[in-house]
Structures are given as C-alpha cells and as structure tokens.
C-alpha cells in the first residue's frame, strides 16, 4: 500500500508542530454563524473526530480545513501554513472524501483515480500505477474498467477514498464517510480506514454516529450549534460526562412522563425521552431491581454500557440522530 505519509515537521527539535491548528475559528454565511469560534489542534498520526448532529458546523469546519472555504474569523493553520495564502500548497498534501459523492460519472473507476492523480501533477504512468494499488486496497480491482454509475453507495465511497489517497496525503479529511451506507458497507469502510490509521495516516473525520466515533477516533470534539461542547478521547468523554452503565426503561406509549418519578434519585441523573426514560447509574442491574421493587411496570428494560450518544445527550439535551 502506498498511502504511507511522510510527516514533515518544522520548528525546534522535540516540539511537534500540530498538523492543524485552529484558534477562535469562525465561519459565517451572511447573518448566519455556522462555526462560532472553535479551538482545536490535530497532531500527526492522530485520528481526530468532529461528532455532532446535522447543522452543528462540522462540514463548514471541514471545508475550511480543506481550503475550499475562506475563514470568516480566527486563525487556521495547516502544516504551519495559512490557507488564505498557501491554499494550493496545503491542498497538495490533503486527501478529501466529501460528504456528497463527487466522482466523475463520465469516467470509469480507474480513470477517476488517474485524472485525480493528474490534478496533483503525477505522471500518467505513476497515476496509473497508484490507481491500480489503491483499487486493490479498497478491494475494487475487478471494477476498474466499470463506469461509476452502476456501483453501490458503499463501493462509490470506497472509490472516493481510493481517489483521496492518490497523492499519498499527509492528512485525510472524511466528511461523514459512512452516512447513508448499510451496516455491512460501513464495516468494510471502517476496516479500510483503520488500516490507514495503522499505517500512520492522520485522519480527521466528521460523523453523527457515536459508534463510528468510538471505533475510529483517538480524540474527538463534540460540536453543537457551531461550538465545541466537549473534547477528549471517547473513553474519557464517557467517563467525564456519563456513568458506567445506563438503564433504559420503556413504558407504554405516552406513559413515560408519568413514570419518570421512578427514575428520580435512582442514579446520578436521568433523561426523559419521548419513547423511554434513561437512568445513569454505575450498576444497571441493581437499579433495575430497585425500580421493579418500587412498583414500576416498564414494558421493557435494558441495561447497557454508556456511549457517546449519552455524552451528547447530557451536553446538549438532544440525541445525535433525530
């Protein structure tokens, strides 16, 4: 596999310069503020995630990082360079997997990769060689001569990932890489991304799936309404903002609110959702036993591990995927 990045670092020896440095980053569209002053750093080799619901400002942030959207305020540096003045140089070192498919429907799978390599000034022979390797990496060698159109959503996404690696990027940007894919396609994709990560490629991705963030990200920020609500590793965020376990109680339709009182005082806190009551506790089974003993008659009850979804719910009062 050729997606082996060479991390160029500058400055004093021993000090690792972040690949991305953002300070008070703002993006405005007219009167609307999509990104409202966020700070973050991404280190070489890291898998960094933006987790948040639709409209949180993730894609706007990604487009600014990708140097295809000018910043409205604050500071943004990639590889120590300013996108406003060095966009071309920065983009030369980026791989971009956009949220919406932008494969060239007039070309074959292989041609899509070759012409993309040409945009990066690769020689024809080199572009062709890398295209072959990358199609093998995403397990689509047999579709090299196929047009893009008949491919499934998951396959198209894999072609897009292969295309984004043609310039052997130092930094790979993935905007909602698995949104709209079926579970099997998502797992194939995660596996490939995980391999890239192991090869040392720095990944920055956005997602509104907490399982994706947990699987892929070393560190993430939770975004809501253009701001960063929390930052840390998935594990640390769960430890900080949720309990070890969650007891989910499902009462008959419309009766969740009137049964809410059973949850009060049971654990650290609870959340009343339209379809269930969540109780945050350290021992779920014990909590369930107490609820039943108190006379509650839930239709179903489930004890599970806390997830990033719970973190998000706690921070914003809303679920990630509505």
């Amino acid at each position: 596999m050729s997606a082996n990045p060479t991390h160029r670092t500058s400055g004093a020896p021993g000090i690792r310069e972040p690949l991305i440095h953002a300070e008070g980053l703002v993006k405005k569209f007219g009167a609307f503020t999509a990104v409202d002053g966020i700070d973050f750093d991404v280190q070489p080799g890291e898998a960094f995630g933006f987790l948040g619901p639709n409209g949180a400002g993730k894609s706007s942030t990604m487009r600014m990082i990708g140097c295809t959207s000018p910043i409205s305020g604050g500071t943004l540096r990639l590889f120590g360079l300013d996108p406003a003045t060095h966009g071309r140089e920065i983009r030369k070192r980026l791989g971009v997997v956009p949220q919406l498919d932008s494969l060239d429907s007039e070309l074959t799978v292989e041609e899509n990769l070759i012409i993309y390599g040409r945009y990066f000034d690769l020689s024809r022979a080199e572009a062709r060689r890398r295209a072959g390797e990358l199609l093998e990496f995403v397990q689509l060698s047999d579709r090299a001569k196929s047009r893009v159109e008949p491919l499934s959503g998951g396959m198209k996404r894999r072609v897009t990932i292969a295309r984004s690696l043609i310039n052997q990027p130092d930094l790979l940007l993935l905007d909602e890489p698995t949104t709209g894919l079926d579970p099997q396609a998502r797992h194939i994709l995660w596996d490939r991304l995980y391999r890239l990560k192991q090869q040392g490629v720095t990944l920055v991705l956005t997602t509104h799936y907490m399982d994706e963030a947990e699987q892929l990200c070393d560190r993430l920020v939770v975004m809501d309404a253009g701001r960063i609500a929390a930052e840390g590793s998935p594990r640390r965020l769960i430890e900080q903002h949720a309990t070890r376990e969650v007891l989910e109680l499902r009462f008959p339709a419309g009766a969740n609110a009137e049964n809410e009182h059973f949850a009060i005082g049971l654990g650290e806190r609870h959340e009343l959702l339209p379809d269930r009551v969540l109780v945050y506790v350290n021992d779920g089974d014990q909590a369930l036993a107490s609820v039943i003993a108190a006379g509650a008659k839930p239709e179903s009850a489930l004890v599970r591990r806390s997830t990033l979804e719970d973190v998000f719910l706690h921070l914003t009062g809303r679920t990630l995927v509505e």
Partner: protein, 267 residues
Amino acid sequence: MSTMPLLRIVPPVVRAARRPQRMLERQMMCYRNTWPILLSGFFEPLFYLLSIRVGIGKLVGDVTVGNHVLTYAEFVAPAMMASSAMNGAVYDSTMNVFHKLKYARTYDAVLATPMGIGDVALGEIGWALVRGLLYATAFLMTMAVLGLTSSWWVLISLPVCVLIGFAFAAVGMASTTYMRAWTDFEFVPTVTMPLFLFSATFYPVSSYGSWAWVVQLSPLYHGVALIRAANAGTASWGIVGHVVFLLTMAFAGLWVVSRRLQFLLLK
C-alpha cells in the same frame, strides 16, 4: 507579469491558473469513451450546406457584396460556419457546465486538489475552443469539397472560429453560473436564435437599411463578417473592429465566470 498592461484584462484568479490543461485532459478522457458524438459535428454542416446549395441557392440566385458577385451558397457558407462555432460553444458552456457545476459536483472535486478556479474556467472554456476548432475544420473541409471556398485566405476562418468560440463560451459559461434549474436554459435559444437569423447571415447587412446598427450589436455578426472577409480574401480596417468586439466579449465573460465560480464553489 501582473504589471503588464495587456494582462490586466485577465482576472487575477485566471492569471493564477497553473494547470488548465488538466481539465482538457479530463475532457479527452470523457470523449475517449464517447468519441462517436464528435462525428455529429461533421454532419451538421454537410446538411446545411447541401440544402442551401441544392435548394435555396437556386431560387435566390447570386448576391452582390461590394464589387464581388457570389453565389448564394458562397455567401451563406461563412455565416453557417460562424453560427456553428457559436452553437457548439454555447452548448458546451451551458448544459454541460451546468451538469458539472450543480449535479455532478465535478468542480468541487477538482478544487479539493491543487487546481484552482482559474484552471477550471480556462480549462472548460479551452475545451469549447478545441472542440470548436475540430468542428470548424470539418466545416471548412466540407465547404472546400462543395466548391464554396474562394481563396487560401479562408484558412484564417479557423482561428476566427476559435475566437467566436472563446467569446460565446465565456459568456455562455458566465450565464450558466446564474442558472437555477434546467428550465432556465429555455432562454438560451431565445438569445441564439435571433442572433442566428439576424446577423447578416442570410442577407447582407445593407438589407437592414437604417436598422443596420442593431445588427452590428450582434456578436455573431462580427464573426460572420470576419469569416466572409477571410473567404473572400479581402482585408479592411473593419476587421480590427470585429476582432476587438469579440475579444471584449470573451474577456468580459471570463471576468464574470471567475467571479461567479469563486462565489459558488468557494463559499
């Protein structure tokens, strides 16, 4: 470079273009798969010229321009050539560009690489020129076979067709950036049809009498005049005016294209 006065008419993002030829390369790749479409460019002029020579020409008789006497087919052929250059450029720069801009997100993908707005604008307009040159060559060969060429000067009509293509492709692409939906393209023939009919294409500009100045506002008129001059092998100072008119149109279009693409794609 940027201080050279001649280059100031080129928008800054276009001056910053480094690899517009990659967009041409992309087009060639596309046509590698669908090259028979290009053949259509040979048939269109053949049908036009045949119908005029065989049919209308016989009814109309000869046309006198200045002190030249031309058969009607000889008079109309250069106008058909100019119109065909216009139509090809308009087609490429409207429908095709709109699809890539709005639906295929081709340019978004391109702009995520070291390519810039100038590369996209120049590359896409450049393709309209390459295709225009191919079609004009086919047209000229057809004219020669049918005996409608008058001198070797007619070869100058090839660069003239490229100039016509440049002007119409730039303005066509500029208009496309304002289109919201496919239905908006119904306005395109509303503009190109009258140009085709009233640019001294089928009768000399003198026939318009005191309205001749309106005809002279049509960019196609200037293209037709240039190709007629080339075919007849006659030079005059008027040629400079025609060239300046078309160049002005081309660079104005390029300005709008580069601004609008920046607004639409890099927001």
